[in-house]
């Protein structure tokens, strides 16, 4: 590997924004046939660096070298022409167009008079798709594909050009474990074919499984490159955050109380059926399963966003009908939704207004909203949750993911709920904030809240839960206690293997 020339090399990249040095002399290189992890907490400069690479931002200083040729990356088109392709975290595909049209968007093969050569288009696409061994063809509508398969379309798009370097930005964020395996195979094939790969992820397991080397950014500065085989998670974490991290399970020391929420035979069409469980005060119940197993849908039903087709919900032992989120909230059920920015926050509003959103009607003096009462609530929960923001006037969109999540959690805590449902509590949140959110969830249980945590990350579920409910295809397969859970059993349960068969 050492005698080869790098597929892509960055030298002393500097990018400043008013008041901030977002990138401060970042240099590293990616060899052909190497999977190179790029790690760093949110705000470390990964996104900015990728935008520089993609021609969206121009660096103030430094050079980008592709195959030993310095390149002025002035536009996304330029990046593509130089063989630098991106697989974005948020997919950018046209759902109403076919797979082939999406792959060749902007470069459709033509016949005379500007007519599209459909046959050639479909043939070429199918040839690429067969390399990827995907279960769909060139004519499939992208909108009909799962997220994982849409990602495959993006990868196929990268294969249409002579890619020198492919950048994967959090590719597994919305994939199930089975889908990840497919993705990793594809990445391995790409590596075989001599493409340099930059792999951005927060997930250590993947990094250690997939990559050859790891480069770390912190506060816009390059902190070093480690050879994956010669390092360990602690070393990488320390490089990223400057301290080591304890991810072991905190044993419950507090009393588990009465049943706060009980669900009997709850069903909702094809989404989930005959679901029964209970959550006690002081307890964290984890819902683990593949994407589409019905976990989020159960949460949405409990929160009044979906109407159950059968079953009963009991709150403090009393049967309850929940017809709307307003109903759920007034009965003490709160939901921290999966998609923080899309469902949880009003990004154009400041921190305080977001936090008081559900109860602003109660914070009035006469017809007017009471500024003092609102600020008091904000201050209280900022301190309690250690939300780092310059002040309540800060637009919530300017906060880091971890602090945004704390705003959403604070919003509900200030309503004094009895049941708190947290869907994917740490999605897109950096390592440091992750453990803070985990500790917060444990702490809430210790204060007597009944907490439901839905997560697709096994370490997270194992770390925070007192009990774990494993779901498969809309059904509860098995319930584990924190003391008895074994990872292999858990994986079997969510893959549809019942304990008798196993």
């Amino acid at each position: 590997m050492t005698d080869q020339t790098p597929a892509l090399r960055l030298e002393g990249i500097v990018k400043t924004f008013p008041g901030v040095r977002a990138l401060d002399g970042v240099s590293f290189s990616v060899m052909p046939g190497e999977v190179h992890a790029l790690m760093g907490e949110n705000g470390a400069g990964k996104s900015t660096l990728m935008k520089v690479l993609g021609g969206i931002y121009r660096p103030d200083e430094g050079t980008i070298v592709v195959n030993e040729k310095p390149v002025a990356m002035t536009s996304p088109l330029e990046a593509k022409a130089n063989g630098i392709m991106f697989i974005h975290q948020e997919l950018s595909l046209a759902g109403e167009l076919s797979v082939a049209e999406n792959i060749y968007l902007g470069a459709l093969p033509r016949k005379s008079f500007g007519r599209v050569d459909w046959k050639l288009l479909y043939d070429r696409t199918d040839a690429i798709l067969s390399q990827l061994k995907v279960p769909f063809d060139a004519r499939t509508l992208v909108g009909d594909l799962s997220i994982a398969n849409q990602q495959m379309v993006e990868i196929a798009r990268a294969l249409t050009v002579d890619a020198k370097a492919v950048i994967f930005d959090e590719p597994t964020a919305s994939l199930t474990d089975a889908e990840k395996v497919v993705l990793f195979d594809v990445i391995a094939d790409l590596r075989e074919s001599g493409v340099g790969i930059i792999y951005i992820s927060h997930r250590m397991e993947e990094i250690f499984k997939m990559t050859d080397r790891i480069s770390v950014l912190r506060d816009g500065q390059y902190r070093g490159t480690l050879v994956t085989a010669e390092t360990n998670e602690d070393e990488v974490t320390q490089l990223m955050i400057g301290r080591s991290l304890d991810l072991s399970r905190n044993a419950s020391t507090h009393e588990i109380g009465e049943v706060a929420l009980e669900v009997q035979g709850l069903s909702c069409g094809d989404l989930f059926s005959d679901v029964s469980f209970e959550v006690r005060r002081g307890e964290v119940v984890g819902f683990y399963g593949l994407v589409g197993a019905g976990r989020t849908e159960i949460a949405e039903t409990l929160f009044g966003l979906r109407e159950p087709t059968a079953g009963t919900i009991l709150l403090d032992g009393k049967p309850t009908r929940i017809n709307s989120p307003a109903d759920a909230i007034s009965r003490g059920i709160s939901l921290v939704p999966e998609d923080r920015k899309g469902q949880g926050l009003v990004l154009g509003m400041n921190c305080r207004d977001n936090m008081t959103l559900p109860q602003v009607a109660d914070l009035t003096s006469g017809p007017f909203v009471s500024n003092g009462a609102e600020v008091a609530i904000f201050d209280q929960y900022r301190d309690r949750l250690d939300i780092r923001t310059p002040g309540w006037k800060q637009m919530v969109g300017n906060l880091s993911g971890g602090n945004q999540q704390k705003i959403v959690i604070g919003k509900w805590l200030s309503m004094h709920p009895s049941v708190l449902i947290v869907d994917e509590p740490t999605r897109g949140i950096d390592v440091g904030s992750k453990s803070e959110i985990h500790n917060l969830i444990r702490d809430l249980a210790a204060h007597g809240y009944a907490v439901i945590v839905i997560s697709s990350e096994m370490p997270e579920v194992l770390h925070v839960s007192d009990r774990i409910i494993a779901m498969y295809h809309g059904k509860i397969m098995r319930t584990f206690t924190a003391e008895t859970v074994r990872e292999d059993n858990l994986i079997q349960a969510i893959s549809g293997i019942s304990p008798e068969a196993a």
Partner: protein
């Protein structure tokens, strides 16, 4: 509420900067080009400007609220005409013949009620059917205009009540009745949007409807209230205007929806909802009226005025977009 952000301040002050530029331009250019020997920034001329801004301005305050909430209302012009007809016609109804000038508050109330009812109808349809407000109010625009024509056919509806005319032409503290109404509506709507629960929730719904629903906010009633507000204001605008003029043509109020939207957008309110300000809309209204008066002052015809306003609208929004792009880059680190 929203001044934690520099770009917001910049944006909201942009319209006032534009107004200052207009004033300077027309004063200077006017001294060379105008046939009139009076200065453009003459006090009477400025007072008249406010008065002439009132009909569009009053409706524009409602449109701001509707657009912040993420909707739009194309039926305001038709509502305006319908309320005007109810006002002028009800003044002559035989059942009110015996009560003299006491008919005036009754007619006012009837006209305003008309506005609230047709607004509520818009809101109810948008709420209950989930059809886009653009489509619903496009339909009701045609429908309400149809009602206007059904009233008297192509004939104008006329009735001059001199008590009413005296009231409309009165001055209080040197300011016209119509201007007082505009200022009062601006103040009240500003307070509603900035300091009440309804205003707060309207912003939240317009910015991120799903998050608002998840916070337990009932979206439908808020939207319906906003449509009732704009219906009321369209009717109020008609009441203020036709109290003085006393005659309504079935085509009156046409294109008012577009003029109000122009004023609102010029003031920086986003078509997509969630952001905007009543005060900036006030600026947008003044800016349009200034442009109109200024160009006429320089001797331009109506067609030139419309062309100029159209171009300026696009130019201002382009500028706004440039400012926003810079802001975004600076914030995304």
């Amino acid at each position: 509420m929203k001044n934690g952000n520099k770009t917001v301040i910049l944006k909201s002050s942009a319209i006032w900067g534009f107004i200052v530029v207009e004033l300077i331009f027309f004063s200077v250019a006017g001294s060379f080009l105008s046939l009139s020997d009076k200065a453009f920034m003459d006090l009477n001329n400025m007072l008249l400007l406010f008065k002439q801004s009132a009909p569009i301005g009053i409706i524009a305050m409602g449109m701001t609220v509707i657009m912040i909430n993420g909707n739009i209302d194309l039926s305001v012009g038709a509502t305006f005409a319908l309320a005007a007809i109810v006002l002028l016609d009800s003044l002559t109804w035989p059942i009110f013949a015996g009560i003299g000038d006491w008919v005036i508050p009754i007619s006012w109330a009837l006209a305003l009620l008309t506005g609230v009812v047709v607004g509520a109808l818009n809101g109810l349809i948008v709420w209950k059917t989930g059809v886009d407000a653009f489509i619903v109010t496009l339909g009701s625009m045609l429908g309400y205009r149809g009602l206007v024509f059904m009233y008297h056919g192509e004939q104008p509806t006329s009735h001059l009540n001199w008590t009413l005319v005296d009231f409309a032409e009165a001055h209080f503290l040197g300011i016209d009745t119509a201007t007082w109404f505009l200022l009062l509506v601006t103040l009240v709507m500003w307070i509603v949007m900035r300091h009440t629960v309804h205003g707060r929730n309207a912003y939240a719904i317009g910015d991120n409807r799903e998050a608002a629903v998840n916070a337990g906010i009932r979206v439908g009633p808020h939207m319906m209230i906003n449509f009732m507000i704009i219906g009321f204001l369209a009717a109020l605008s008609a009441v203020v205007f036709y109290s003085e003029s006393g005659s309504v043509n079935p085509n009156d109020g046409e294109l008012y929806e577009l003029w109000t939207i122009t004023a609102v957008v010029l003031g920086g309110t986003k078509l997509t909802g969630g952001a905007g300000s009543i005060i900036s809309t006030f600026g947008g209204v003044l800016a349009i009226q200034l442009m109109r008066k200024g160009l006429v002052f320089l001797g331009a015809g109506t067609e030139t005025v419309n062309l100029a306003i159209g171009l300026i609208l696009i130019a201002v929004l382009f500028l706004d977009k440039q400012l926003n792009i810079k802001g975004k880059e600076a914030l995304r680190i």
